[in-house]
Symmetry: C2
Subunit: 197 residues, 2 copies
């Protein structure tokens, strides 16, 4: 390679990011070097800052910069509702929608017999503890509509059902979705859950 060792090492590190391969990593690094004062230097500093401060909230598993995340410390969000999601990315997606005003609980994955992931490997014991500590009236399961996600939802409903009301996101036709492009399972779920107009 014509690039020097340092640059080559940077390209290899960037190529390991999800969404980037060797070719796009090279393009990104060249772009960064071309604008090194305005882009590469600030990005390096920002990464170092996040690497030093980012941590998981000990209560809900969200990522923040303190022991408790901004949502767990915000008393306006003590609505008695906990929304259970698989990953932090799902929490961010819920927040972008901007309709949920309660708190979250990030499991950190799903139960999986195949990968030998049991309740103790996820943040499930902590969720059960929270039901006792916080005044929780409703647990909303916002897990992915995959086999593992639904298995986990059933398990949680069994475990928690006696202590709080357990609900889950509605399944149906996505907004803007066309019937012709939907799978049979979604159409069948939407039909079963049909509502009076």
């Amino acid at each position: 390679m014509a690039a020097s060792g340092d640059i080559e090492a940077l390209i290899e590190m960037m190529a390991r990011l999800p969404g980037l391969g060797p070719r796009s990593a090279r393009r990104a690094v060249l772009h960064l070097i071309r604008k090194r004062a305005r882009l590469l230097q600030p990005l390096a500093e920002q990464m170092a800052a996040v690497a030093a401060t980012a941590r998981e909230c000990i209560n809900c598993g969200n990522i923040g910069t303190a022991e408790l995340c901004e949502i767990c410390t915000d008393s306006r969000r003590a609505s008695g509702q906990i929304c259970v999601v698989e990953e932090v990315a799902d929490l961010w997606a819920m927040e972008r929608a901007g309709v949920f005003k309660g708190r979250y609980h990030v499991l950190g994955g799903t139960l999986s017999a195949l990968d030998a992931v049991g309740p103790e490997d996820l943040r499930i014991p902590r969720l059960i503890d929270r039901l006792g500590e916080e005044a929780v009236s409703e647990v909303i399961l916002a897990l992915n509509a995959t086999v593992d996600g639904q298995t986990t939802a059933h398990y949680l409903a069994d475990e928690i059902g006696a202590r709080a009301e357990v609900t889950s996101l509605a399944q149906g036709v996505p907004v803007g979705g066309e019937l012709d492009y939907l799978d049979d399972g979604t159409i069948s779920a939407a039909l079963k859950a049909r509502k009076k107009v």
Copy 2:
């Protein structure tokens, strides 16, 4: 957003990289934070190192860590051949092919009447200087087969033709290419440049 200001700022910076958008930047940053000790911290350090040391070779425009790049300082590459490319990425592509053993000259773009890019805006004056300074017998034009690339090639051939032999990469059927999927221009160029078997 649920992410703290620092993390949000990092996502915004990453989203500006070519090949990454807001969604993939979020995924990349979450991935980095999850592996912050093994990935984010080293990446921040590597970026800072490159930001501090990367610079353009004053002779050919390649990116390296010294005033003269590794190719310009390598006496084994004083073959009397200079390969002219548009961007550093093209130089890297040539080096990956591993067949050219001479030196390079990175123009930094192409002439463009539309964008008001003239010879003085590119590294063309320096190329002409090099013809006098180094014992150059052949200038190989490895410019993109675009309108601007070919315009630049014609301009360079006119300027340099009297001082050194000017050649350009062959046009034809790419290796592994299927005639049925090639455009008419390529087929026509390949037919014109046909060779005895």
